[in-house]
């Protein structure tokens, strides 16, 4: 699936420091090159985004929060169905 929100992420990066000064720790909602607002909680930010944009995509980030590294070994290493009790047979044996 293609990644979305490229304009919003670029706009956020360009304005993050400025918004951080005005709204530290709050959740911002960005659509296109427009800041909808800063909110006290994720729930409020989602409600405001949906009220304004319905089911369209919009960016929600918490100011000052570092983008945490995502680590999902079962997915990235393909381990969801790994079973060392039943190793694959050797070809030609």
């Amino acid at each position: 699936m293609a990644a979305l929100l490229e304009r919003e992420r670029t706009f956020y990066t360009a304005h993050e420091a400025e918004w951080m000064t005005a709204h530290p720790g709050r959740f911002v909602v960005v659509k296109g090159e427009r800041l909808l607002g800063a909110f006290d909680s994720m729930e409020e930010a989602l409600a405001a985004g949906a009220a304004a944009f319905g089911l369209q995509s919009f960016l929600v980030r918490r100011l000052g929060e570092k983008q945490a590294e995502v680590n999902i070994p079962a997915l990235t290493l393909g381990l969801l169905r790994a079973d060392p009790q039943h190793p694959a047979g050797r070809s030609g044996s």
Binding site: M1, A51, L55, E69, N71, I72, L75, L77, L80
Partner: protein, 157 residues
Amino acid sequence: MPILNIQLAAQDPSGNQIPPLVALQQRGPVVQVSVSVEQNIAQQLLAQGVPLPAPERGFALIDTGATSTCMDEAAAARLNLPAIDVVTIASASHASTQQNVHPIQIEVVGLPITISAPRAIAAPLAAQGLVVLIGRDVLQHCTLFHNGPAGSFSLSV
């Protein structure tokens, strides 16, 4: 605090019963769930008269190794979920990929247990027979007890 108690039951391809401890070892802690759009978004949409897509049902695997909850990307597309961010997932086997983040609500089928996952990552889970991978962002609010010898687990939310 609602508590989910599950003892796994399964059959082999010949129809023979598999002991619960083997079923839990093979399948992991899985639970039937129904996934829909996050409740704060759903309330706004209903207020606007926008019909909500029917929830997606399937199995969720509780994965203590995952930092974040994931949702099957095809199911997310069927639910017409809005993306609220994009994250990069590293992979040992191929280049890192960018995946959308969606706000979802997970309900345990048949029980009054509702879990909010406002930042679920889209991932190809359907091939694994899963609709959701429940990660530590959700589990940090839960108590999980894995009883291997009994082939059961408990989750309180």
